[in-house]
């Protein structure tokens, strides 16, 4: 379900077109139910189009969640102790597929075990977390189990199933229960404006920036920082791009999803950054891990934060570097809770945060430990900033690739400035959704998209 591929849009148009054609043959009284059935079928078909493995694993987790919950809620009281085992069963496919290789090959050193060679089903991290939250919300808040069809649409709403936002029961389920195919020009216009921004982020900015990320640049601190900038921009425009298209697609269908990003690189502190970056995941960890551990009301609050961020790192990828990335942000948050420049020094906080985030992306993208250590040493030691390193940077910036990369970094900077203006007016991404800007974005996307088949980074998580 790659929004950047023409195939997705053709399949979606075909699926929705067929659904609407059949709808004409359905009696008025039956259309209410038909719409929800058709939505579920379109979603399932799009998952099958990704791969059968993706669909089957998704369907397995979905069915186990629903019927497990049904069994538990059917007998109030004594079966509640089965809540945790149900969550464990929900998490089992995620643990096997995503962490099988890490545990068997990286920790146990058994690279020939079957688990070391599994392909991760697309979206498994996202829909598993959404369903875990569903189980906890349903049991903890003693809410009724919805009908299976509404639950299936909640669990498999196609715009958000493979890369979020991770929606909560109270936000998405009521919309699924009320879902109808409606023609509403206002929704479609608003939805399309998000789609245009999202596709511009992904196809024009992220995909072009991805071309220039250099691997293993040696102990040249300048080039490593340049890589960090390129990756920071790429991953943001890639993931935010996906999320904005998902938001727009949802709106076109009359469903309002959660805004998953709010200009995170403009954050002035670590706490603010995590309230702006992958918002629904941050909220998930806060509500289902951090607060149950005692949150900030216990003496071990700092340890709680580190645990949450280590797990968050592991959620992003099965590797030591991802754990290190999570811990780095955890430590940053702990430090910031005691000291961080604020008020008239907020600009220093903003600058510090930006440097810290850029540094942290190095831990994220460099999966080879030896290269990562080399990069960290280069960035932290004066030797990395030698005259030869500077010459290396100058040479690259003067090359054809360097010039094109700088042009796209410039375009990205301009886009971030427009985000800042939007925030100033309390309208997230508002400047980019103005009609004339949208026209420019369409032209830029058509003309500048590199055409390389870059999957969304977060599909791998």
């Amino acid at each position: 379900m790659n929004f950047a591929e023409l195939r997705f849009w053709l399949l979606l148009a075909g699926g929705l077109g067929l659904s609407l054609l059949v709808r004409f043959a359905v009696p008025s009284a039956g259309r209410e139910r038909y719409d929800r059935v058709a939505l579920a079928l379109v979603g399932a078909s799009l998952l099958v189009a990704v791969s059968w493995l993706t669909f089957l694993v998704y369907a397995g987790v979905m069915l186990v969640t629903y019927f497990g919950l049904q069994w538990i809620t059917a007998a109030e009281g004594h079966r509640r102790k089965w809540a945790m085992p149900l969550v464990a069963v929900q998490l089992a496919p995620l643990l096997v597929y995503k962490y099988g290789r890490f545990v068997t090959a990286d920790i146990l050193g058994q690279s020939d075990w079957v688990a070391a060679d599994l392909v991760i089903p697309v979206g498994i991290s996202f829909y598993t977390f959404q369903k875990v939250a569903f189980v906890v919300d349903t049991l903890h808040r003693r809410q009724p189990l919805p009908g299976f069809l509404d639950y299936a649409n909640f669990a498999g709403f196609f715009p958000q199933i493979v890369a979020g936002p991770i929606e909560r029961r109270e936000d998405l389920l009521p919309q699924m229960e009320q879902f109808r195919f409606r023609w509403n020009a206002a929704w479609i216009e608003e939805g399309m404006s998000w789609i245009v921004v999202g596709l511009f982020y992904k196809m024009c900015l992220a995909d072009n920036l991805a071309v220039f990320l250099q691997r293993d640049v040696g102990p040249n601190a300048y080039l490593i920082w340049l890589n960090n900038v390129l990756f920071a921009l790429r991953i943001y425009f890639d993931f935010a791009g996906y999320s904005l298209v998902a938001l727009g697609l949802g709106l076109c269908l009359g469903v309002r999803l959660t805004l998953n990003f709010a200009s995170p690189y403009l954050a002035a502190s670590p706490g603010e950054f995590w309230r702006r970056w992958h918002i629904t995941l941050s909220q998930w960890f806060r509500d289902y891990v951090y607060i149950p551990m005692g949150g900030n009301r216990v003496r071990t609050w700092a340890l709680n934060i580190l645990v949450v961020f280590a797990v968050s790192g592991l959620w992003h990828g099965a590797g030591w570097n991802f754990i290190a990335w999570g811990l780095f942000h955890g430590v940053l948050l702990v430090i910031a809770s005691r000291w961080w420049p604020k008020d008239r020094f907020a600009w220093i906080g903003r600058l510090l945060m930006l440097v810290a985030v850029l540094f942290s992306w190095m831990l994220f993208y460099e999966t080879q430990t030896s290269v990562l250590w080399q990069d960290i040493r280069a960035v932290l030691s004066p030797v990395g900033y030698s005259r030869a390193s500077l010459d290396g940077l100058k040479w690259w910036l003067g090359s054809a690739n360097g010039i094109v990369a700088m042009a796209f970094i410039g375009l990205s900077g301009l886009t971030l400035l427009m985000e800042a203006r939007s925030l100033g007016k309390s309208q997230a991404y508002g400047e980019l959704r103005r009609p004339w800007v949208q026209g420019v974005l369409v032209v830029l996307t058509v003309w500048l998209s590199p055409g390389a088949s870059n999957g969304f980074i977060y599909f791998a998580f």
Binding site: A186, M192, G439, V442
Partner: protein, 334 residues
């Protein structure tokens, strides 16, 4: 569909407007790509020039067809090979066209009995071989959009869906920025021109640059996708009665890194030798003489190209191939 006109007009006019902008932008991009893009115009010219040599000067079969990126275009001299008694054509084009389209455009010209020398740059086989934007554009401009189909089947007559070719008719970010930069600097829009091509299709240039030799970064590695492509090409050639060999392009190498680069190249070729015959070349693609290169570390001068062509002709005549064992031993040499 239920209508909710109470809080909205009937047609989303803004969306229709954006759709119109999309269509116009694409149409302008397509017109530019097909008629004004200097790179595509030169691609068409060079391909015609190379085919013309093949038709006029080579026999109908038992020909040697060398293909790859621009390293081939610069370093192989068919006229010199012909003097040595080898009927050769140089189908080297731009490396940006990518492995799949370069291979298919060659297979489309081949006949049973021909020997195909795959001289694709290691970079083209070290990563994903998916069709590039330039590859798809070239296929369309040359009148064979099917060459850009996304399958792993090298058959040049296979056709895919039309959508990717249609979407490929856009300039792309790298091209637009490069052209704008050249316009601002009042430099020629493209470094190469029709006058750079000899009658035999070999390319040369007067441009000279300060060249840095290859130091072994990034190390060439045969990717799973590259391996699959080479394997599929070999199978196709076997079915069609074509001989396929791989020849590593000659790359300007830093003298201090020569030993390392030789080992890396040997390792890369050992992986390739599992899939296809590898033409023996004692230099293992490492050249330290800068005077053999013009504007990049892959583009050879006339002097360099005579050495390269002579070595290739000699290996082809003698039928010498590397074995995987020999290459593994060279890769392990300290």
């Amino acid at each position: 569909m239920d209508s909710s006109t109470s809080h909205s007009e009937r047609w989303p006019k803004r969306v229709l407007g954006l759709g119109l902008v999309l269509l116009l932008a694409w149409a302008a991009g397509a017109a530019y790509t097909l008629y004004f893009n200097v790179e595509m115009r030169l691609t068409r010219f060079m391909f015609d020039r190379k085919l013309s040599w093949m038709e006029r000067r080579l026999p109908a079969t038992n020909r040697v067809i060398v293909f790859g990126g621009s390293s081939s275009s610069f370093s192989i001299s068919p006229a010199f090979a012909l003097e040595q008694g080898v009927p050769m054509v140089n189908l080297g084009m731009g490396a940006g066209i990518g492995a799949r389209v370069l291979t298919r455009m060659t297979l489309a010209q081949s006949r049973p009995g021909d020997t195909l020398v795959m001289a694709l740059e290691p970079d083209l086989l070290s990563a994903d071989t998916a069709v590039t934007l330039i590859g798809a554009q070239s296929a369309v401009v040359l009148g064979h959009p099917g060459w850009a189909n996304e399958s792993l089947d090298p058959d040049p007559d296979a056709n895919g869906t039309i959508a990717p070719y249609v979407w490929a008719l856009r300039p792309g970010g790298s091209h637009v920025v490069t052209m704008l930069g050249k316009l601002v600097q009042r430099r020629p829009l493209y470094r190469y021109q029709a006058e750079d091509f000899f009658e035999d299709g070999q390319q040369q240039t007067e441009v000279r640059g300060e060249l840095g030799g290859f130091r072994g970064h990034p190390a060439p590695r045969l990717s799973p996708d590259g391996r699959a492509w080479v394997r599929a090409t070999r199978a196709y050639c076997e079915r069609k009665g074509l001989k396929l060999v791989y020849a590593l392009p000659w790359t300007l190498t830093e003298p201090a890194s020569e030993a390392d680069v030789r080992r890396l190249h040997a390792g890369f070729l050992a992986d390739l030798a599992q899939e296809v015959d590898v033409l023996r070349d004692e230099r293992l693609g490492c050249i330290t003489d800068r005077s053999w290169y013009c504007d990049t570390r892959f583009h050879m001068t006339l002097a360099g190209s005579r050495e390269r062509t002579g070595a290739m002709v000699s290996s082809l005549k003698s039928g010498l191939r590397w074995t995987e064992t020999e290459l593994r031993a060279l890769a392990a040499t300290r």
